[in-house]
C-alpha cells in the first residue's frame, strides 16, 4: 500500500519532466519541423487550396492546440503514416521493436555482467598489475569509436573470416538467431565494456574501502562472502542505476548504428531511414516514445532503490 503511494508520488513527480521532454520534441520536430504543405499540393495551387491543406495538416491551429494534439498522439500511440512508405507508424513500431530487443539484449546483458566482473577483478587487486592491465585496456576500449568497431568486426567476422553473415536478419530459430546476433553482440560488448568496467571499478573500490568491510573481515568472513554481502549488495544502487539508464542509450544509439550498418530491420534502421529521408511522423514517434521511456525508467529506478537500500524511506526521494 505504502509502495503504491510512493509509486504514485514518483509518477506525479515525473509529469513536469514528461511535459518538458514532449514540449522540446514537439517544438523541434513539429513546430519548427519541415513544412509539408507543398508536398501535398498540385503544381499551381490556389490560395484556397493552400489554406485547405494547411488546415488539414493543422498548421493553422495555435501552438498550444498543436502541442495538445501531439500529446494526444503520444498517449494514444497514433502517429499517423510514414512519409516514405505510407505504412502506419504504430504498425512499423510493433514490427520492429521486438527485433531490436532480440538483437540488443544479449550484448546489453553481457556488457553489464562482464563490466561488473572486470571491475570487481580490478578493484580486488587494486594498485596491482591486474588492476593496471584492466584499467589500461578499458581506456583503450573507450578510445575506439563504436562505428569503427562495427565496421572492423563486420569486416573481420563477415568478410575476412566469413563465419557470420554480413547483413540482414533472417531469424526463425535459435541457431539462426545466434548466427545473426553474434557479431552485433560482440561489437556492442566491446564498446560498452571499457566504460562499464571503469565505472564499476570505481564504485566497487569505494565500497571495498567501507568500514563494514573491515568489520566483516574482523569477524572471519570469507572473501566470497564479503564480495557478495558487503561489496556487491551495497553497490546495487549504482549498478542498478547504471543498468537502467543504459537502456535508452543502447536501444536508440546502439540500434541506430548496428541496425543501419548490418541492415537489420529494427527500430534503429527505421529511425536511421527516417533521419536520412526526413520522415517526420516516424521521427517524432521515436523521439517522443524514447523520452517517455526515459522518464519511465527514472521512476522505476527510484522505486527499485527502495528494494536495495533499507535506508531509503518511502517518504524521501532517492534522487539527489
Amino acid at each position: 500500500m505504502e509502495i503504491l503511494k510512493y509509486t504514485l508520488r514518483k509518477l506525479a513527480g515525473g509529469i513536469p519532466l514528461l511535459l518538458g521532454v514532449t514540449l522540446v520534441s514537439f517544438v523541434l520536430m513539429v513546430y519548427f519541423g519541415p513544412d509539408k504543405t507543398w508536398e501535398l499540393l498540385s503544381k499551381n495551387p490556389t490560395a484556397e487550396e493552400i489554406a485547405q491543406v494547411r488546415s488539414q495538416l493543422g498548421y493553422d491551429q495555435p501552438f498550444w492546440v498543436r502541442y495538445g494534439n501531439y500529446l494526444r498522439e503520444l498517449a494514444t500511440l497514433e502517429f499517423g503514416y510514414s512519409d516514405s512508405t505510407g505504412e502506419r507508424v504504430t504498425t512499423i513500431l510493433q514490427r520492429t521493436v521486438p527485433v531490436t530487443l532480440a538483437l540488443l539484449a544479449p550484448g546489453f546483458v553481457l556488457g553489464i555482467v562482464l563490466g561488473i566482473a572486470l571491475g570487481l577483478l580490478a578493484a580486488w587487486h587494486r594498485g596491482g598489475w591486474i588492476d593496471r592491465a584492466v584499467t589500461g585496456l578499458a581506456v583503450v576500449g573507450m578510445s575506439v569509436s563504436f562505428l569503427v568497431v562495427i565496421i572492423a568486426f563486420q569486416l573481420l567476422f563477415g568478410v575476412v573470416l566469413g563465419w557470420f553473415p554480413v547483413r540482414g536478419w533472417n531469424v526463425h530459430d535459435l541457431p539462426s538467431y545466434l548466427h545473426y546476433v553474434t557479431v552485433p553482440t560482440l561489437a556492442s560488448v566491446f564498446v560498452a565494456l571499457g566504460y562499464n568496467t571503469r565505472f564499476f571499478r570505481a564504485v566497487l573500490v569505494e565500497e571495498m574501502a567501507r568500514d563494514h568491510v573491515r568489520t566483516a573481515r574482523a569477524f572471519g568472513a570469507s572473501p566470497v562472502e564479503i564480495l557478495r554481502k558487503n561489496v556487491l549488495m551495497n553497490a546495487m544502487i549504482p549498478i542498478v542505476t547504471r543498468t537502467m539508464f543504459s537502456i535508452p542509450l543502447v536501444v536508440i544509439s546502439g540500434s541506430l548504428l548496428i541496425e543501419s550498418y548490418f541492415g537489420i530491420p529494427g527500430v534503429g534502421k527505421v529511425t536511421y531511414d527516417a533521419i536520412t529521408s526526413g520522415d517526420q511522423p516516424v521521427l517524432k514517434a521515436v523521439i517522443g516514445l524514447t523520452a517517455v521511456m526515459f522518464v519511465g525508467i527514472l521512476i522505476v529506478n527510484d522505486i527499485l532503490y527502495k528494494f536495495f537500500d533499507p535506508r531509503i524511506s518511502l517518504g524521501r526521494t532517492a534522487l539527489q
Binding site: 594498485g127 596491482g128 567501507r210 568500514d211 563494514h212 573491515r214 568489520t215 566483516a216 573481515r217 574482523a218 569477524f219 572471519g220 568472513a221 570469507s222 562472502e225 554481502k229 558487503n230 549488495m233 551495497n234 546495487m236 536495495f308 537500500d309 533499507p310 535506508r311
Partner: protein, 330 residues
C-alpha cells in the same frame, strides 16, 4: 619476558607502511602480554600507532601498504604473524574479536542486525539458523538492549550510535572469544552511553574470562578499567606499567606530562588525551635519538643522539634517559 599464563604475547612487533619511495615504521618494537580476564590499556596521541598495533594482531593491516616486518604475536602459543589467511579467518571473530571506533559505519547497512549477528555465530560455532538466532537474541539481551527481539529485525540505521556499539560488542562476544580488542570503543559516543558501554564490556569480560586490549584517549577509563598500561609515542613504547604505578609514579616524562595535565577536580570525564605542548614529529622524519626529546624539558644532547632502551624501574618499564623520580641512568 615470556609469560606462560599469558593469552596474548606481543614481542618486538614492528609494522611498516610503505610505497615505492620509502617506508614509515608506524609501530616500532612493541611488546606486551595479556592474561585471561585482564585488561591492557594502550594510550597515546593520535597517529602513534595504536590502531595499527591492533590491526596487526588481528591480521587486518591494509594490504599491500602495511606489513609486519619483525616480531611475534602469539595467541595461546600460536604464532599469528604470517599465519595463512584461511587459518586467520577461523580465529577472527571466534578466538579474538575486535570492536572499532566508529559504530555508525561499522555495520553493513543493507542487512538486519539479526542477519549480521547470526552470520557470525553460524560461521564459527556451526549453529543452525534457529540456534544462531537464539544466540544473537541472548547476546543482545546481555548487552542490555531493550526490545531485543524487535531489534533483530531492524537495520543498523534504525539504531542509535550507542545501540550500534552495543550490537558490535554483542557480536564480538557472541562466539566467546578469549581476546577482545576494543579500539576506542566509546570515543564516538556521548558521556553517559560511554559509561554504560564500558560497563557492558567489563561485565562480559568477567563472565567469559576474556582478555581485553583497550585502546583509549581517556585516562579516566584507563584508571577505572585497566590492569596494565602501555604508553605509545611515535610508534614506540615509552612506558609500560601496572595501572596504579602509572598514575602514582609515572616514569617517562611524556607520561608524567599526561598525568599532571589531568585536572585535579574531575567534573567531566576526559574524552581526549590531555595536552602536552609541542607537536609530534613526522613518522617519516623521526629524529635519531629519543623521539620525545624535542618536547621534553629534561632532554640533553645525549637524548637527541641516542634512543633510550626499555629499562625496568620498580614495577614499571620505561624508555627514558632521565625518568621522573630517579637518579639519571648514566
Amino acid at each position: 619476558m615470556s609469560n606462560n599464563d599469558a593469552l596474548l604475547e606481543v614481542e618486538n612487533l614492528c609494522v611498516e607502511f610503505g610505497d615505492r619511495r620509502g617506508a614509515v615504521r608506524a609501530v616500532d618494537r612493541i611488546s606486551f602480554e595479556v592474561e585471561p580476564g585482564r585488561t591492557l590499556g594502550i594510550v597515546g596521541e593520535s597517529g602513534c600507532g595504536k590502531s595499527t598495533t591492533s590491526l596487526a594482531i588481528m591480521g587486518l593491516l591494509p594490504r599491500p601498504a602495511g606489513r609486519i616486518t619483525a616480531g611475534a604475536i602469539r595467541l595461546s602459543g600460536t604464532e599469528l604473524a604470517g599465519l595463512p589467511e584461511n587459518r586467520m579467518r577461523r580465529i577472527r571473530g571466534a578466538e579474538m574479536s575486535m570492536i572499532f571506533q566508529e559504530p555508525m559505519t561499522a555495520l553493513n547497512p543493507v542487512y538486519t542486525i539479526g542477519a549480521q549477528m547470526s552470520a557470525v555465530v553460524r560461521r564459527h560455532a556451526g549453529l543452525s539458523r534457529r540456534a544462531a538466532r537464539r544466540r544473537a537474541l541472548e547476546m543482545l539481551e546481555r548487552v542490555g538492549i531493550p526490545l531485543a527481539q524487535r531489534r533483530l529485525a531492524e537495520y543498523p540505521h534504525e539504531l542509535s550510535g550507542g545501540m550500534r556499539q552495543r550490537v558490535m560488542i554483542a557480536m564480538a562476544l557472541s562466539c566467546r572469544p578469549r581476546l577482545l580488542i576494543a579500539d576506542e570503543p566509546t570515543t564516538a559516543l556521548d558521556v553517559t552511553t560511554q559509561a554504560q558501554v564500558l560497563e557492558q564490556i567489563k561485565a562480559l569480560q568477567r563472565d567469559f574470562d576474556t582478555a581485553v586490549v583497550l585502546i583509549t584517549h581517556d585516562l579516566g577509563v584507563v584508571a577505572e578499567t585497566c590492569d596494565e598500561v602501555v604508553v605509545m609515542y611515535c610508534g614506540r613504547m615509552v612506558e609500560r606499567a601496572p595501572v596504579e604505578a602509572l598514575f602514582s609514579a609515572p616514569r617517562h616524562r611524556y607520561t608524567e606530562g599526561l598525568i599532571q595535565a589531568i585536572p585535579k577536580i574531575r567534573t567531566r570525564r576526559l574524552t581526549r588525551l590531555p595536552v602536552v605542548p609541542g607537536s609530534v614529529p613526522d613518522l617519516s622524519e623521526l629524529p635519531p635519538g629519543c623521539c620525545f626529546a624535542a618536547r621534553c624539558a629534561h632532554a640533553d644532547t645525549h637524548c637527541l643522539r641516542r634512543q633510550p632502551a626499555l629499562e625496568r624501574m620498580g614495577p614499571s618499564r620505561v624508555a627514558c634517559f632521565h625518568p621522573a623520580d630517579a637518579e639519571p641512568v648514566r
